[in-house]
Symmetry: D2
Subunit: 337 residues, 4 copies
């Protein structure tokens, strides 16, 4: 159950509500985000809601029976939009395109890619400087110095940055140089990291776990939201199955399901979702047709020479065509509303 | 290795080729379809192809290293089209829509649905009369009498029929009353059934197995083709994974992959693929965006009262909207070629 | 709900019970096995059972709420034993060992293996003559002639035969030459085959599907039982997962779960379950430790030269050691009862 | 390739080797563990090893072609044993039993359980004070204060402690109060945590990921080893599959496979592996039969009242019986060596 509080609620009013609910054997989580104040009450609802509905300081009460609460569409029916500034908005009504290399390499290459994005009207650049790698002997990224260079280049082109954060101590290091923190598929259930990102006032994109369920993704988002950060984006990136003809199994079923269950924007990563360069375009188109709010894709001026993930990375020509087609399709979809 | 033979090859010429290849330790499968004659030679190619290329009676030789041969795009690069007559064609350049109830019920209901399809310009009706059911106590379909009624109704409306065949003995019973035999997900590896369908001159749509791989689907198609029947259609219908928020996990990655590996048409079943009525439309649209040649969907005038699968069945209004949108999207896609 | 009938119930008594239950909106399936007579009543129990409990001709009534009925342990609590004759019994209190090649090859080799089994005191020989193969170009077995030879050799050594049946038409052909029909993992949901095996009076071993659930295996067994054949054996053989270090993922969890849910014997196939020769022994031991009633394994005098599945087939020395150890472990387990 | 260095190698000798290998285009990782010094050389071996074999300072060279190196059995063939002191040894030749509640609760309960373990001769107690929970609203453990109490109780009974560490900052906090750090299934690929545990001189047990592969588990162990900590234990705890009759699918295939691939001890967690109290015993027995070096299980004096995971937790009576039987079985297994 979510109890949305009046902005100007007094401490004593709030305490009274908390006490009342605790008497009714609810566990209360006090949530103060950048935007609002809530009490999340976990427990069994076995009394008439009208008993508390009239209490002063309460703006609204919503009963949510899912394992997640604040990210549920059952209480917040209008879709969340996230404003990155300079006209870059993620969420319903805006097609978000995020593109860039798997790993940030040197300044010259970063400049080339940023320039290309700028020409294409793509406003958000992706690129990792901390890379999670299965083997300790693989390239692990340029670190925070690479991020600073990445930031400098992007700002020059008026481009926003999304980059992966892998552990709590990186949040502060990265804070000044990213517009969106990305939580990778191996960290979807790194609960300490999620807790800490709840204390940050920058948007967080959470990828679905390697074999994460839709519900687990929403619960992970709930961690960040209940920690205080409402600016959340969900990302489908494929799941692990027995099928070996593609790198992952892109589960586009999750797109309409997430959009129905939650008010948060949903982005799809077709690059990891299929893992085969020639098929990134059809899967990007399928993602938009399924209702996604945007896509995040890997591009590089010379995919064959990319530091990582070259096999699924588009070159500029492919990316330009994909961008154009995705926009046409989004236009067609918008005409149906 | 596929050796396509001259249509007018003599028996002695053919025997000579077979002997020659057997000497080279190849296993030879003699394939005579309704359209062509082939020898499929299975073994290790360790000689210069020119040694046999000039032999009389050979039209063409193709080396295919996949586990499947005749269904591979490596030797037949132009896409297969299947003509059901009366202008109904399945394959590249044609958007195939197949719709109907999960199970055929009584004549009145069948008539209602066929009439609706006719009004929508949908030319193929699906409907089961033999139903595979996990439990022996569930409704198993009307059998061949139901099929005859189904046939009569469809012919009146100029509509073609696709219906599931579950075992060898049903092939003959059904033959006069179907335009396309459907092999269900539980029978994808029923090899005796596939063998027998190879001897039939009517098209066969093969659904991917419950947890079948892309390669297994192609090998199952190879069974039918090498048995003599070239008129094959592949169907993605979702696979079994750990995810429980949808009935199956629709694997749209398979669409571009199958289209790249094989020359056969690819149809998607979004109804089984997601299993939730409200989300059939987005998944149908995503299927077309991913490159599918058509969709097969469950519709019913009163889904709540359908004999089976009501939860994933569209009503007429939903089906009409989906049809219109799928056609628009297919038009957009076609404009990119 | 299962209504066990008196052996000497009259037709009119039975008709009365059926009518009564139909009035209460139950669907009635009349089951007559080689041993007993039942009515399986499917529907919602919304009346007091005592209303029908006293009716003449009824021996016992059991309410079973699972999707399967007659195979459930909820009504038949003592374990089913299957007597193959000559002292060969499968089920609780007997360790069943079944061994032999993947495919039956020539008489000399069959003789060699049968002799070895006889020396080891292994009383059941496995071996396929109809082989389900993913590719149409692979070896498909010797057919019924091979089976006759197999039978002749085994009878000489006092050994029972289990062999796979792939389609309805093979049942009659095989009937005289097998002691147990095996339904393979690709046919677990071949419902027509299961129906037909219900009409046979020889035991049937049903393998779990390639990605079949425990419940589906029980429902498949229910098909055969409700068709009239009570002599059923369940077999765990590994399921399909994302893990590639073994051929399948042997799901030994299913052993205690099946033993709890059903009264039927449970056999494990460690050869297919792990698919790596060196590890068949530990998995066989683990199967027995988990509570299995026996194992079925692939052995060959020269595994490297076996017609199929050589990589998971034990040689005689390995098989002899495994047999000895499995027996010791079974002895230890028995001492705990 | 692993180059084991002489203990007394000089800096200049080492530098020479590194330079030489870098010239040959190898990437060199300098590994100094509590016990030994290694260079791990990653790259393509395209020269004759004898070119470097004679260089001074090199003790031994091993070519390992797996994605993991130092944890591979290919270079270190004798099994690793981990000595926790006071006669508690984990690894080949020792049956390790670890038991305790899912979450540590109050002192009185901890005392009860520790006393029981002591009576049973179980020398390692498990218990979480930092609990990873899917939902932010679930109980998350007592934290480091609970650990201190846990430590005090265990030391009194001469019992060693294993407890889960969830993030880097907890390592220092926990260091003085644990004998083994446990990395949970959601953190198997938390690479920063693994890196940091490489700098610790206490043993680390790494659970296989929720849907982790055998190879990924070994690569995660490689992180810790190459970070400097050789005291590693692998733990199978079940993987995520489509099967819903058990909580996870315990993959006992992994036991002989891990034992073959690596020199590290392998422990199984049957409690999480099946998730159903009544079946923990058979799966524990199966684990030992499959070759595991021990088991870790959840026990509680009143499972019904446990703070978490009650459904899979054994009571004292069940645990005592399991312990006795597991020991008998381990004895039988040992007699075969």
């Amino acid at each position: 159950m979510i109890i949305q509080l009046e902005p100007n609620i007094s401490d004593s009013q709030k305490e009274k509500i908390v006490n009342d609910l605790q008497t009714k054997r609810f566990k209360i989580v006090d949530v103060k985000t950048q935007l609002n104040q809530y009490l999340v009450a976990i427990g069994k609802l076995d009394f008439d809601l009208r008993q508390i509905g009239h209490i002063e300081g309460i703006l609204d009460i919503h009963v949510v029976t899912d394992t997640y609460q604040l990210v549920s569409k059952k209480w917040k029916t209008n879709p969340t939009q996230i404003d990155l500034g300079d006209g870059v908005i993620i969420g319903e009504g805006h097609l978000s395109l995020m593109a860039g290399p798997c790993s940030i390499e040197d300044e010259e290459k970063t400049e080339l890619i940023a320039k290309f994005l700028s020409e294409q009207g793509i406003r958000i650049m992706r690129g990792g400087v901390f890379k999670p790698r299965s083997s300790p002997y693989s390239f692990r990224g340029l670190g925070v110095d690479g991020l600073k260079m990445f930031y400098k280049v992007c700002r020059k082109h008026g481009i926003k940055i999304i980059s992966e954060v892998m552990q709590v101590s990186q949040i502060a290091e990265m804070y000044d140089y990213v517009d969106v923190f990305q939580v990778g598929a191996r960290n979807t259930q790194n609960f300490n990291l999620l807790d800490e990102l709840g204390r940050v006032d920058k948007p967080v994109l959470i990828k679905r776990g390697i074999s994460g369920s839709v519900d687990e993704l929403l619960q992970s988002a709930e961690y960040v939201f209940s920690g205080g950060n409402e600016k959340l984006i969900l990302c489908e990136r494929g799941i692990r199955t027995y099928e070996t003809s593609s790198r992952n199994t892109l589960d586009l079923n999750s797109v309409p399901i997430l959009k129905e269950k939650s008010h948060l924007p949903v982005i799809v990563d077709p690059s990891h979702g299929i893992g085969i360069r020639d098929f990134v375009e059809p899967m990007a188109l399928a993602s938009i047709a399924a209702g996604a709010d945007g896509i995040i894709m890997e591009i590089h001026h010379e995919p064959e020479k990319a530091a990582s993930d070259g096999a699924q990375t588009l070159n500029f020509e492919e990316a330009a065509q994909l961008t154009k087609r995705v926009r046409s399709l989004y236009g067609l979809r918008s005409s149906w509303l």
